[in-house]
Point group: C2
Chain length 337, copies 2
């Protein structure tokens, strides 16, 4: 299995991306194709003194798409960018999956243009795992690919999310919740009102009804369905909050180490706060999957460091092994035939 990794994408590229990729190659035994500026990458990989035979290759891509670039314009004007080249590798069969922490819009755009939508899917969506108190994360779909949606899109997200959740987390009948501003009768915006009966009548998903914002952390459902505008705001709100918490955890450690003349790190470890803090650090968690395109595309957080990149590559490996793309295709084929 070969996984192409965008070595130019993300705030900590290329150093942290390379570190994460090397760890992933060691831990998961996958081959890695680092996509980026060949000369730079070659030196960095040599410097990292990896064991020989790790299976890390380099694919040259001289251009970089920045975070603030307009996705579609950037894709067209930068055919040699790491994103376009990486997605191209996937298309040509030169890689089984592509992982990028770069411009999300550009990754989605390039995947749509080059790989195409899975037959029967009208709107590919981003499925993002939200790690919560529970042992299994909940999957939020759509985390940002489609700002404006119609009811039939939300039904599609529910199906894509259920399939993904089944395959990756091995949940037999994932509970699907529709995110709304209340669970009482009459609550919801027009989109929720119109989507509710579609979800309720769909026999191929396990729809459990509307859920509210506070249910996300409580993890009352396995799949959370919402439009990409709301979904994106929700995950970024949680992210901001978790950042805030992490800063406070560090302050607490500092204050404590002064007060009790202990090293802050010991305290945090003793009381299990480091693990908890890590669980809340969404930049560590790893990746989101672009669902409904002809290829395995994993979108890592822009602030990903080595551990997050390694985790995203792990998710890519799972996605390949569990044949997600193939499963979506078959499901859609059944629905349309």
């Amino acid at each position: 299995m070969k996984i192409a990794v965008d070595a130019a994408g993300g705030d900590y590229a290329p150093h942290e991306v390379i570190k994460g990729a090397i760890r992933a190659a060691q831990e998961y035994g996958v081959e890695i194709a680092l996509v980026g500026r060949k000369n730079v990458l070659r030196k960095l990989v040599e410097h990292s003194k990896t064991k020989p035979g790790l299976g890390i290759s380099i694919v040259d891509a001289k251009q970089v798409i920045d975070f603030n670039e307009h996705p579609m314009k950037a894709i067209q004007s930068k055919p040699n960018s790491s994103i376009v080249v990486g997605i191209g590798l996937l298309k040509s069969g030169g890689a089984d999956a592509f992982v990028s922490a770069g411009n999300t819009g550009a990754v989605v755009g390039a995947a749509l243009l080059t790989l195409g939508k899975t037959k029967g899917v009208s709107r590919p969506a981003i499925g993002c795992f939200l790690d919560t108190v529970s042992s299994f994360p909940a999957l939020l779909v759509d985390a940002g690919a489609n700002a404006d949606c119609r009811p039939e899109h939300l039904l599609e997200f529910a199906r894509l999310g259920s399939l993904f959740s089944q395959a990756i987390l091995k949940i037999e009948r994932p509970r699907v919740g529709l995110l709304s501003n209340g669970t009482e009768d009459g609550k919801g915006n027009r989109l929720v009102h119109d989507s509710y009966p579609l979800l309720k009548n769909a026999t191929d998903i396990n729809f459990v009804g509307s859920i509210e914002g506070q249910d996300i952390v409580k993890r009352t459902t396995d799949v959370i369905v919402t439009d990409g505008f709301t979904g994106n705001i929700v995950i970024k709100t949680i992210e901001g909050f978790s950042d805030n918490f992490l800063v406070s955890v560090r302050q607490i450690g500092h204050v404590f180490s002064s007060a009790y003349r202990l090293r802050g790190r010991d305290l945090l470890r003793d009381i299990g706060l480091t693990n908890w803090a890590r669980k809340l650090d969404y930049t560590e968690y790893g990746g989101a999957c672009l669902l409904g395109v002809n290829g395995n595309v994993i979108i890592a957080h822009g602030r990903s460091q080595a551990r997050a990149i390694k985790n995203a590559i792990g998710l890519a490996k799972e996605t390949v092994e569990r044949c997600i793309t193939q499963k979506v295709k078959e499901e859609k084929h059944e629905q349309t035939s």
Copy 2:
């Protein structure tokens, strides 16, 4: 100044509501009219052994509107409910403000029906303070009164929020941000796209552009404008997260007290965690204001306990003192004349 308080509204009514009201009367020197079942309330007030001369009266309201009742139906079928009676008091001049932790939809509905919209306001909205790391909370409008909005409504929310923020927090030119799924060109759903130019061209607000979910906690703006669907989901997501955090803080205290043979409470106090935790507990924070109706209506959290009720009454007092309703009226009068 007399503030009517819904003694039947909220998960901890009437006990905690009465406690909070008595504390508010002591601390702020306001008169309180408790609205609810007279016989029950009289006994509870007598039991609480308040100092004489505190100015706590009781207004009889035999019916209760539950949380899961359909707001408009409940208002019509329960004219003697604490919400309808309380809003009626406001209308008749028997109170200067009304505070309720009851069914939000019913409070909004009753206010609209009985008090009416301020002239020039097409959609009253809920302005909710989000306490963050900063010393001043940010105001989110709309926190849930209008699930579906048009661009002109968001402009109105920006104006109402600015006025409220100016009056309550004494911020001279509150920075207004439009909540979106990205700040780059082309980001946003249709509503955001169409609202952006309206906000940008409005000379009476200090619009600073789009903001993202993570900016909410960072508090990059004083007023956060969004539709009531998204706004409600955002505040409830934060609430769920803060609950989760509070549970963990308690667990940490427990684990620590075992490990270091100290009382958990001491540790939490020593490292300043209790204050921080309290800051994150939105049920403690107090209240949201219904902006754009002819009267001062404060909506407290359904899970409000005494402290939160006291805080909500404090916000009501500020709202009355700073003549919010009058200011909105004047502003709207200027705009329409």
